[in-house]
Symmetry: C2
Subunit: 200 residues, 2 copies
Amino acid sequence: MAFFPAALERLIDQFAALPGIGRKSAQRLAFHVLALPDAEATAFADAIRAAKQEVRCCRLCQNYTDQDICPICSSDRRDHSMICVVSDPKDVLSLERAREYNGLYHVLHGVISPMNHVGPDDIGVKELLQRAASEEVKEVIMATNPDTEGEATAIYISRLLKPFGVRVSRLAYGIPVGSNLEFADDATLTRALEGRTEMQ
Amino acid sequence: MAFFPAALERLIDQFAALPGIGRKSAQRLAFHVLALPDAEATAFADAIRAAKQEVRCCRLCQNYTDQDICPICSSDRRDHSMICVVSDPKDVLSLERAREYNGLYHVLHGVISPMNHVGPDDIGVKELLQRAASEEVKEVIMATNPDTEGEATAIYISRLLKPFGVRVSRLAYGIPVGSNLEFADDATLTRALEGRTEMQ
């Protein structure tokens, strides 16, 4: 039953279509927007349009940018011999925050997932291989998530990269810093044992 | 640090300004919108504009509608002698769902809250008194939330309504149906005892 005015129902539907937003939350958000001053609601609508129009993917790394080539790829202060492969633009943010990595990135915008009909062609593997073919590139770090699909994607891509003669590495698995052995799952503990390093 | 393109940051800001949406969720939602087909993103932006433009408050009950007078107020199958006063349009939906009430509503769009500088003039108390002054109205049911501000608002309005000679009632307090005494708080149990009814 469409209880609210049609335009309000449509707005609720739009919010409810967002990930992690249920019907009740969508109602709450739509009511909030209705109660906003006109200028603020318009700013919200404009922000959606502007983001879609202005934000594109970097021609090289596929990360979101509003330029042809993103600031990281065009920076001469970054190490152009390393490419870190992530599944999502958010992962670039996480890695940048750690301030440890100074190379370039390659954003797949997904992982290979036969269940969801996502194949290598859908996540820009070809573009990565083209970049890896450049003489400049010495190492590719696979930084997809440590879950089944992320792992499978990393293995698949690393095999394709072998012929190019670049070093292919994978982020280390282990106990998170500041965490507790008690709460670590078996798979993580197994990996932490396998990957143990000698103490100095 | 504005890490993402400006237009994307602005969209994240817009989502983060919504109630109950933190920075991480706002990022997730903004990325979701970026990944939408153009037509769907445009539909989202249009839905916000349309809702703001088309949805207004019913001239009588102040509930959201796209007409001058809402379907409930203009229905001749509703009992026009009763007005149920709620603080929020969502509450009308809840009461309608119960299919028990067949009278009219009055939506305050808030409660009296001196802490938040919300006074009687801000929640349309005057409009309610005008309606209660009509000969037709026999009973006003106060259905604001059973919290401090909802209760204070109900008491304040009921005093103003007294001179009009209408019956003023309040929703019953008590143990929720299907609930468990064990989980009922003291205030609810006290009210449930006070409001106990004789068994037939």
